[in-house]
Amino acid sequence: MKRTAISLLVAGLFVSTPDAYAQLKYSGSASWTVIGSDVNSQNPFRLDEYRDLSGGATAGMDLKGDSDTHRFTLFGENIGRDDQYIEFRGARYGDYKFSLYNNNIIHHLTYGAITPFSGAGNSNLTFPGALDGTFKPSLDTSIWTPFDYSIKHENYGGTYEWLRTAPYYIRVTGNQKETKGIRPLGSPGTSPGGPNYELPAVVDYTTLDASAEVGYATKTRQFSANISWSKFQDHNDFMNWRNPSIQNALSTTTTERTTLAADNDLWKLSLNALWKQLPLNSVLGLRGTYSQLTNNLPVSSTGTAVTGTTGQIVNTNSSSGTFNGEVINESLSASLTSQLARTLDSRLYWNWARKENNSTQIVFRPVNASTGASTQTCDLNPTTAAPLTTCTTELLHYTKNQFGVDLQWRMTPVQKLSGGWDYTDTKTERIDFDETKDNSVYVEYKNSAFDAATWKIKYRYLQRRSDFLLGDLQPIQTPALPTGQQSTLIFEKYLKRFDLNDNNQQLLKLAIDSSPQPFLDLGAEVILKKNDYQNVVLGRTEDTRGELYLSASHGDPKRFRVTVFADYEQTEYDSTHYQGTPNAATFPAAVNATTFLWTGKVKDKNYVLGLAADWPATERLKFTGALIWQETDGTVDFSANSAQAVLIPIPAYDSFHKTALNLKGTYLVDKNVEVTLGAAYERYTFDDAQMNGYVYTPVTGTNQNLLSGAYANPDYRALIGYFTLTYKF
């Protein structure tokens, strides 16, 4: 009876005949787990950032049905908890396959945040400051409202693939994601230089995704067309909040308005084609995509400005009352792999992409609503750096062309020499920059001549050259630029953005893998990388990276197997900057306590040790353990070209230590019942100058900042115990 009921249920879901499912053989398990934890922490968000470790019970299941023609799996874990996952998948061999799922992802950002604003979790934030006539929120943090920064994603979706008409197939997918929670959002009360307020911003999104693909797939040719649609909806367009910097009557009548994520619609068409068994045993792959991203939103006609503590209404005088966003992305890709000779393989490839931004271009001329006078510095003149009272949205476009070749020569059956060249040209439209050309070459040698070891070494050199439109100077000669190199153009010309700047990059990799005896695997890898930015006056001058990875595994998995790794990574980022009033004509001005050139060196050392073992002590009893020990030491060193500028190094910069130990034993009571008892210990400490000694109401100059505690005090120590009873059938 029970078997028939299950068969009918499954058959109904498969949309097929019950008879076929009556032949299914069922197996699987159901489990009940109890978790308990003892956590010592002010803000243990790093402990359960993505895990629901709250004390209590949960259930899991793993039900399988199997026959010569059909199969299905119903899998679920953490049922009823924030990280619940359920998937039902099945197939009739050669006819169709499908899956249905629910995947909940919790993302805890910070526990125990506090705010003087009321309304955390919705789109209107205010405070009762006017009651005492101060128009300010209370600085007594003991009466602030506590809340958690946390976001939960709930995904529901499925896929269906029709294969009966092979080689033709149809595949459809659908997914709905609900995202809800609160995230930290900082805002200045005045700008520039004003106090900042950390606000609990509401997150309430719905994303709908759907796609359909038809295709034809054989061993020599494949073609497919895929159309997809994605609709993102934010159920709050704006977050309105009372600005504590405004302390005149406007404070009680007008709120600030911060824009939240805008709704959007994305349509995409993809076409793929593949031909195999062409001359020279070649394979040709092609892909073309076209997507259109659109949105439509009103442009605020008013805003606020703050002078001192006096708020004013500003008319934004936008050239359009509506922003119609449209971004078109197009791409074409091709790849041709060939066997030029018996031991020589090649690959030619080409990737082209274009982004076109056809959105409404809007000009703003903000003026005081009462007086009509200009109220804000909207932008800077690109040639004189003079303040502008208008600002115009800049629509970014780019076209990217990439092509290259890879060659592989099997010198002998155990030696391979590879090499290649890659060229990428990116053209864009910006005031300061319009083109980047990347040339990259690499050579790699691999040797597996030794019975027990394979090793390979790779070297890559990348040269990036860019067109900066505001001038291109030689490296700075401190304390002053050579005569003739001073310029009346804007100060921005001295600045080179690291992602675009001329760069000579070198990469060296050496890896060895060895299996000197059965059940013994050894591995080692060294990676050295250097970015040497060229002609940098201001910006990142160099970054280097050194990495070492060691690993070993030993033992028969049926008896005892242990695996261990050790990682070390060191990075350094060097940069040069200018503190002082920007003035191209006098740069760099005579140095003193407040005007000087300075360099920063951000260093980071990471150590990780990992160890894990599986020990089936008897046929019924198995022990498993894992240990990870990590430490990162981050520092920043400074130097300045002024003796009067005393810069103090930062001894702790995202430094942390983490130890995680997990031990468990599993005992098979009988053929149906299994019990697992486990314990985990985790300890995390964080040391960072930006967060240490966290203050919720710090004063900077005359500015009263209001913070909420986001990411503060994350140290934790936790003991977790768990017991699982599993019934197998």
Binding site: G186, T624, A626, Y694
Partner: protein, 331 residues
């Protein structure tokens, strides 16, 4: 319908069918390879019982599936004709038996992959296998998959996973990838990471290990389109755009993990200062004096403590606020 119209329709249809045949070729009309007359599982089981039983339980052993080894030569489909092997009384490599295991030195990685591709080359997931990095780097199917079953994706996890206690019991796909991608393992273990160890997303959520035309074998034509397929709130279009955001998310973020919050490549304000220096305040040296408990007793800077630049520039991915508030990404 008149006869003339009927004839025209037949001609058009004939042409269309003919064109289709030219496009798709005649390979679909080819019969399946004849089943080899070689020992099957009932013979192999005598010595390799565990392998034979796991094979029979796996999808490869399902008689109802027309394309699997069960209907196309059984064990011989992957291991070759074992007649000589049986006749010689067995033994590793004896009688020309084929072993597609990655530990086997008798086959090149390409030859091992070709055994699987002899059936799977019409799999749409493998369409761009030849273009992918794995083939180029001598990775073959059996480096990651156990052809004898074990879990739904036939993943071959050999080593005990080195990871903290997790609430998932799913097969940790990443452990297979970390066997070679050791640098990624180090990043995924950092405090700021995608929920990969927690089993909520997998390496294959972003990458296609079976080959792709895109760089890094990502599952989309560009990095940004890949990221915004989940992070749809960052798609825009925005009135005021931040240029690096529009070009490549990886300029600021490392999706595999970071010691800094939000998967940032470098800590704020240094990351921002690598591009912003002159205008207004970005060029200031934010040293230890700017911390909450700054050295020297000076007032700290709200451009440094807590979330640094993001204390004010909260809409750094783009803003739809008007005028300078949008231009500066502060509303």
């Amino acid at each position: 319908m008149s006869d003339r119209s009927h004839c025209r329709l037949v001609r058009v249809l004939t042409l269309l069918v003919g064109a289709l045949l030219v496009v798709v070729g005649v390979d679909t009309l080819s019969p399946q390879l004849a089943t080899a007359q070689a020992p099957g599982p009932e013979v192999c089981k005598a010595c390799h019982s565990a392998y034979a039983e796991s094979y029979e339980a796996s999808i490869h052993g399902k008689k109802g599936h027309p394309k699997v080894p069960a209907n196309n030569g059984e064990c011989a489909a992957c291991h070759g004709d074992g007649s000589a092997h049986v006749k010689a009384g067995g033994g590793r490599g004896v009688g020309g038996i084929v072993n597609p295991s990655p530990r086997s030195k008798s086959l090149t990685p390409e030859a091992r992959a070709n055994i699987c591709l002899s059936c799977h080359s019409d799999n749409r997931h493998l369409a761009f296998w030849d273009s992918g990095r794995h083939r180029k780097n001598d990775v073959s199917c059996t480096n990651c998959h156990s052809t004898h079953g074990g879990n739904p994706s036939l993943l071959n996890v050999q080593n005990p996973p080195i990871r903290p206690f997790e609430t998932t019991s799913q097969v940790p796909q990443q452990e297979i990838c970390f066997t070679c991608h050791r640098d990624i393992r180090a990043l995924v273990n950092r405090p700021s990471h995608h929920p990969i160890p927690e089993g909520k997303i997998k390496c294959s959520s972003c990458h296609n290990p079976h080959g792709a035309l895109s760089p890094a074998m990502v599952n989309n034509e560009s990095i940004n389109q890949l990221c915004t397929s989940c992070h749809a709130d960052k798609r825009g279009p925005f009135m005021f755009e931040h240029p690096p955001v529009e070009q490549n998310c990886l300029i600021c973020h490392n999706p595999h993990g970071s010691r800094s919050v939000k998967l940032l490549n470098e800590k704020v304000p240094n990351l921002c200062q690598d591009c912003h220096d002159a205008a207004q305040h970005p060029g200031s040296a934010y040293d230890l004096t700017e911390a909450f408990k700054g050295a020297g007793g000076t007032a700290p800077s709200n451009r440094f403590f807590a979330r640094g630049c993001l204390n004010c520039h909260n809409q750094i991915h783009g803003s739809n606020a008007p005028a300078s508030r949008g231009r500066r990404f502060v509303r």
